[in-house]
Every structure is written in structure tokens, then in C-alpha cells.
């Protein structure tokens, strides 16, 4: 039988794209081993976006016209995705996208694109979900007190978007509305230059944070910022009650560093979710067996989810007919290795948004433990952040 072709565009040079492509391949192999879909095997065609917009757009064109794929999947950076959206709109193939957080992408896609399914939470959704998380944590643990929020954001697109959504959330909170109403009494945002972009000196920013003395110190940057920032925080003696990082991935062996203990993080997934989710555990083991390396970023389970979500839809629809498949995908409930059940719902603009929030995790004993959502909790939070003495 002719295979069902799925075209993926990811940045292969980056660990996120690399691992998400591998996880997709894993899912495809599993499904094929189980007999494929509709009696047809699945075929995955991966094209590197090189993190360049025009390359990412050309990749979509290639998948559409040369490989004649049935579906588009993949994704990571918003800038690349923005260039792909007009192309995707031309082909209007069913697209399950697991990257890009910027709300601009959502605006560019527009409300009419019923073929567009987006898995990664939008930047504003992430912001809102954290508010919910902290509120629940503050309720669950009476000694946790959250009032002053300090956001350190990298000055590029990724970090600045966070800052902007925090500003919106703050103005809502001031009026007693929104997810942060209970936990954001005051807010301050300061930018820094990420080490990934040639920066790496955070001390000016940390000095301001120290002077501000926040309850919640959050930094939105890249994995390369994680350890140097902790070192410099230690150097200036800055230990906020919560030290939270929100990079898309973490450095290798981060947990081994003595500075990592009790660092909180936002993330969609952590290896410890294996303890509470069988899919996660299965994914983890299968991935390691196949590739002889551990999934290191949530883009791995997200890529895996991407394929399975589509497969579930096809299975339910029993056809590749676009309209029926869209309907089926709207109904799919997939218990993903991310730890929660994936189900589409509308977001601000688009009809089909998948995940809406991230989790709050904490590095404890070298592992990421889930501390929120409370129902997925794998450990109790360490609070407050211990002092730097003796690390």
C-alpha cells in the first residue's frame, strides 16, 4: 500500500529539532510495527529548517510539491514559523505544529485556518498557567507567600514576549482579574543579553533583582544562561525565595551541579513524569533503547505526541478526507508522554490549540520533580530557596 506521508520541518542542528525529529521517527516506527494506519504504512520526511526563515518556508514547499506529503508537522522557532505560515496557507494541508510560542504566529495563522492544530502553548497561555500554578501552590502550602515578581528576560524575541505578557497580566492583576490576581502584587522586568547571543553577564540585572527583593524571581532565557546566572547570583549573594528558570531546555548534566538544587523551572515535561504517566515511561524507555541517549528537551515527547495525535485522529476518522479528519482530530483525547491528556480547544485566535500550560518543576537531587499541577506532583516543593552557603 502507498504510505501516508508526513512531512516534518525542524531545526536539526539544534537539540530541540534533532530530538523531536527522532521522537517522531520513534512514533512512526511504533505505529508501523503495529500495522500502520488504514492498512497503510506511515512515512516521515524530515527537512532541516536550519533556523532560517526562508529555508523553513522552502522546506514546506518541498514537502508539498516534491514529496507531496499529506500532513505537515514539526516546528520550533517562531521566526521560522512566521515565514512558513503563508506557504502553509496556500496548501491548507492538515498541520500539527509543536513549536512556536509567539502570539504573532497565531495572528498570522488567523481564525479561519481550521486545518491548523497547534500543540505548544502560546506565550500568553504560559504566563497565565504559571499564575494559576503559583496561586494553587500558595493555597496548598501556607508558608509560601508570593507577592513581588521579578522577571529577568533575555532581550531577544523569546524573552521579550514573556515580559510583554507579564505586563498585561500585571495590569489585569491590579484590577483583581486574571490568573495572577492573587499572587502578583508588584512586578518588575529587567532584560539581559543571553549567553546564547553573545551576552552572559547577568550581574547588573541580578543587582537590580537583589535590590528589588522579589518573592518570585523568574528568568526567561536559554539553556546557556542557566548555570552562569546561578553562579553570578551566588557571587552577589542573591537568593530569592523562588529561583525560577523558563528556558526551552536545560544544559546537559545541569542536575549534577551543586547550584541546581531547589532551582524551580517551568517546563512541559520532566523525566520524573515517568512515575505518574505510563505513556511517558514507555516513551522514555523506547527512546533510550532506540537512540541510546536520553530525551533532553520537552520537544522530544512533544514530537512523539505530534505523530500520535495525528495517528489517533486518522484512526478515529478512518479516512484521510480533510473535513472528516479535522472533525476527528477535534475529538481526539490523547494521553501524551507530556503527562497530561491532549485535547484541542480554541485559544485567542485559532480554533485548535492543544496544550495550554506548562508545569512547575523543581530540581531536587539532580532530577526535575513536578510540583505543580498538584495532581501530577512527584515531590514536595523546597521552600524557600536555600542560601548559597556551602554550595
Amino acid at each position: 500500500a502507498t504510505p501516508i506521508k508526513i512531512g516534518a520541518v525542524v531545526p536539526l542542528g539544534d537539540i530541540t529539532g534533532d530530538q523531536s525529529a527522532k521522537a517522531m521517527k520513534l512514533a512512526i516506527d511504533e505505529i508501523n510495527a503495529a500495522g500502520g494506519l488504514l492498512g497503510r504504512p506511515l512515512e516521515l520526511i524530515v527537512v532541516d529548517s536550519e533556523l532560517k526563515p526562508e529555508k523553513g518556508a522552502a522546506a514546506i514547499e518541498k514537502l508539498a510539491t516534491v514529496d507531496k506529503v499529506d500532513f505537515f508537522v514539526g516546528g520550533m522557532a517562531s521566526s521560522v514559523h512566521l515565514a512558513q505560515i503563508p506557504v502553509m496557507k496556500r496548501y491548507q494541508k492538515i498541520t500539527i505544529w509543536s513549536g512556536a510560542a509567539s502570539y504573532l504566529c497565531e495572528n498570522a495563522v488567523g481564525p479561519d485556518a481550521d486545518w491548523y492544530f497547534h500543540l505548544h502553548p502560546w506565550d500568553y497561555q504560559q504566563g497565565a498557567s504559571y499564575g494559576l500554578g503559583w496561586t494553587e501552590l500558595a493555597e496548598a502550602y501556607p508558608d509560601i507567600e508570593i507577592e513581588k515578581i521579578f522577571l529577568a528576560y533575555e532581550e531577544g524575541g523569546f524573552g521579550s514576549a514573556s515580559h510583554e505578557s507579564y505586563l498585561v497580566l500585571q495590569s489585569q492583576a491590579n484590577q483583581g482579574e486574571g490568573a495572577w490576581a492573587a499572587v502578583m502584587g508588584d512586578y518588575m522586568g529587567v532584560s539581559f543579553k543571553s549567553a546564547a547571543l553573545g551576552g552572559g553577564d547577568y550581574r547588573a540585572m541580578l543587582q537590580q533583582a537583589k535590590a528589588y527583593d522579589p518573592d518570585l524571581f523568574v528568568w526567561a532565557g536559554y539553556d546557556a544562561d542557566a548555570l552562569p546566572m546561578l553562579q553570578q547570583a551566588k557571587e552577589i549573594g542573591f537568593a530569592p525565595k523562588f529561583f525560577v528558570g523558563a528556558p526551552p531546555g536545560w544544559p546537559a548534566h545541569f542536575g549534577d551541579s551543586p547550584l541546581a538544587e531547589a532551582v524551580t523551572l517551568y517546563g512541559m515535561w520532566a523525566p520524573t513524569i515517568n512515575k505518574v504517566s505510563p505513556t511517558a515511561e514507555h516513551f522514555w524507555n523506547a527512546y533510550i533503547e532506540k537512540y541510546n541517549e536520553e530525551p533532553a528537551t520537552y520537544f522530544a515527547p512533544l514530537g512523539y505526541t505530534n505523530i500520535y495525535f495525528l495517528a489517533e485522529g486518522i484512526k478515529a476518522a478512518g479516512t484521510l478526507d480533510k473535513a472528516e479528519l479535522i472533525k476527528a482530530l477535534e475529538e481526539v483525547e490523547y494521553a501524551s508522554p507530556i503527562g497530561e491528556v491532549l485535547k484541542m480547544s480554541p485559544s485567542n485566535v485559532i480554533k485548535h490549540q492543544g496544550f495550554t500550560g506548562q508545569k512547575i518543576l523543581q530540581w531536587q537531587g539532580g532530577e526535575q520533580q513536578v510540583i505543580w499541577p498538584l495532581n501530577l506532583k512527584t515531590a514536595e516543593p523546597i521552600y524557600p530557596f536555600p542560601s548559597w552557603e556551602g554550595r
Binding site: K52, E54, A58, G157, S160
Partner: protein, 312 residues
């Protein structure tokens, strides 16, 4: 000789214009990208012919892109008008800046142009209201509504225009002015060449080209984003293309853009991982074995053959 030459050119032009009829959208989008870099590469080379190494290509490219997007998004102009505005703004800015920095030479000029490009980016990133700041800006009316065939024809037109300008520069007094400036400014000015005027002229013309290309690129996809609109690869790749093809000529950058543009795309398809290594290897090999670039090598060989024939 002349007739065959113009015939070849006409055939090539027709073939280029008909490309969309015979190929897939994918090749068209690859072709658009190649043309984009080709124009950047030619424009960089045009400046180089004056002896000035410009590192500002990406800066004017990005500036043009932002102008185009802002014109369309905030002032509601047609994208085609946006493209023209992108060129004009880049030209205007380059005129003002050129008056100051074209007194610099060599590395100092190169680094200053690069610094200016970075300044453009930082300023744009911090003017949130107008430019969307760090998270970029999108428009909903893209160029020809993302009809890539039309975009291709437009790009082809711009490229042909650039080639014509470049060739005009090579065949008129401009050629003698800038080549003498490159060789020896003291001699040039002692023989009546108004160095400053010509430097500014070429700088502005090439910046306009870069601005036009930048806004075409941005309006084609309908967005600008500081990190990608000013990305160094709009500087480094055009330079590499011109050098690989052969500098101080129009055909060199053209060849270079085609060679590097196609090989990067092809390499990527045959080897998903590590294709950039081989891309680097190609570049290294070309420099080592064809120090005058591909066109230079062709010229050497045919020139050699011609001479041999004459000797017989």
C-alpha cells in the same frame, strides 16, 4: 560574437522567466531565495569595486524590510509601494551615513558599517511601538498574497535590474572612476576623479538595492523579526557567493549565488545532519583551488585557450 552573446542572454532570460511554468513551487521558492542572495551579492560586489569592503549589507537589508512592513502595516500602502519605500529609506539613510563614514577606509570602514547595521537592529528592537520591538511585526497583506510565481517574477525583475545596473557600472565612466579609486586614490583624484562623490553614489545605489531586496523579502513572508531580519547570514553568504563566483564582476556573484544556493539546498536534502560542514568544505576547496573564483577560473582557462589558439 556580439550577436551570439546577446542571443545567449535572451535565451537565458526567457528560460528564467519561464521557470515557474516548468517546475514545482519548491524550486521556485529556492529560486527566489537564490535571487535574493544574488542581488545582495552583486550589490556587495559593486561596493567592493570601489575598494571598500562593506559589512553593512544585512543592515540595509533589514532596514528595507522594516520599512516595507511598517509602510504596509501602519500606513496601509500596497506592498509594491512598500518595496519602493524600503529602497528609498535605505538609500536616504545610506546617503546621510555615507557622507560621514565614506571617509574611512579598509578595516575601519568595514567594521563601522557592521557596527551601524547592529545599531539599526538595536534601535529597531527598542522602538516597540513602531517596529514591534523584539518580537517582530507581521502584516496580513503579503506580497501578491503569497503567489510565489508572481513573487518570483518580481524578484527576477529586481535581479535583472540589479544586473543591468551592475553592468552599466562596468561599462561606463563609473567603472573607470571606481576602479581607479580602488587601485590608487591619490592617482584617481590627481586625474580629476571626485572620489567622495563616486563613493557616495555607489554606496547609495547599492544600499537602495539592499533595501529593496530586504523589503521584498519581508513582504513576501509578511513579517520582520530583529534577529532574522538583520541576521549575519545576509552579510556573510552574499560575500561568500561573490568570492566563490569571482569578485569585481557581475557574472561572478551570479554564478556564486547559483552554485552556493543550489549546493546548500541539495546537500541538505542528501544529508540531513552535518550538511553545513560540507558546505564549508566546498567553500574552502573553492578558495584553495580557484583563488579567483569560478568565473575567474573560467576566464583564465578560456583566455589561455584563446591565446594558445592564437599562437598556433
Amino acid at each position: 560574437m556580439k550577436i551570439t552573446k546577446s542571443l545567449v542572454i535572451i535565451i537565458l532570460l526567457i528560460a528564467a522567466a519561464l521557470l515557474p511554468v516548468v517546475t514545482e513551487a519548491y524550486f521556485i521558492s529556492v529560486a527566489i531565495t537564490i535571487l535574493t542572495f544574488m542581488t545582495l551579492s552583486i550589490s556587495w560586489d559593486m561596493m567592493l569595486r570601489t575598494g571598500q569592503l562593506s559589512f553593512g549589507t544585512a543592515g540595509f537589508f533589514g532596514l528595507g524590510g522594516y520599512t516595507g512592513i511598517i509602510a504596509v502595516a501602519d500606513f496601509g500602502v500596497d506592498p509594491l509601494v512598500g518595496i519602493i519605500l524600503g529602497g528609498l529609506l535605505a538609500g536616504g539613510v545610506s546617503l546621510l551615513l555615507g557622507m560621514a563614514i565614506l571617509r574611512l577606509r579598509g578595516l575601519y570602514f568595514a567594521i563601522t558599517t557592521m557596527a551601524l547595521a547592529s545599531v539599526f537592529m538595536v534601535v529597531i528592537r527598542n522602538l516597540n511601538k513602531l517596529t514591534g520591538g523584539p518580537s517582530g511585526k507581521i502584516v496580513y497583506t503579503t506580497l501578491f498574497n503569497y503567489d510565489s510565481v508572481k513573487v518570483y517574477w518580481l524578484m527576477l525583475g529586481i535581479t535583472v535590474g540589479t544586473i543591468v545596473v551592475s553592468e552599466v557600472f562596468q561599462r561606463t565612466r563609473v567603472h573607470f572612476a571606481i576602479d581607479s579609486i580602488r587601485a590608487d586614490e591619490t592617482v584617481a583624484k590627481s586625474h580629476g576623479v571626485n572620489i567622495y562623490k563616486y563613493l557616495i553614489f555607489v554606496f547609495v545605489v547599492t544600499s537602495i538595492i539592499q533595501g529593496v531586496i530586504g523589503s521584498t523579502y519581508a513582504l513576501q513572508y509578511g513579517f520582520v523579526y530583529p534577529e532574522s531580519s538583520f541576521s549575519a547570514h545576509y552579510l556573510l553568504l552574499p560575500i561568500a557567493m561573490a568570492l566563490v563566483g569571482g569578485i569585481y564582476s557581475t557574472i561572478g556573484p551570479v554564478l556564486g549565488a547559483i552554485i552556493l544556493g543550489l549546493s546548500s539546498e541539495y546537500l541538505k536534502l542528501i544529508m540531513p545532519y552535518g550538511h553545513l560542514i560540507f558546505y564549508g568544505v566546498i567553500i574552502v576547496v573553492v578558495v584553495l583551488f580557484l583563488p579567483n573564483g569560478v568565473y575567474g577560473a573560467i576566464k583564465d582557462v578560456t583566455g589561455f585557450r584563446k591565446r594558445r589558439l592564437e599562437e598556433r
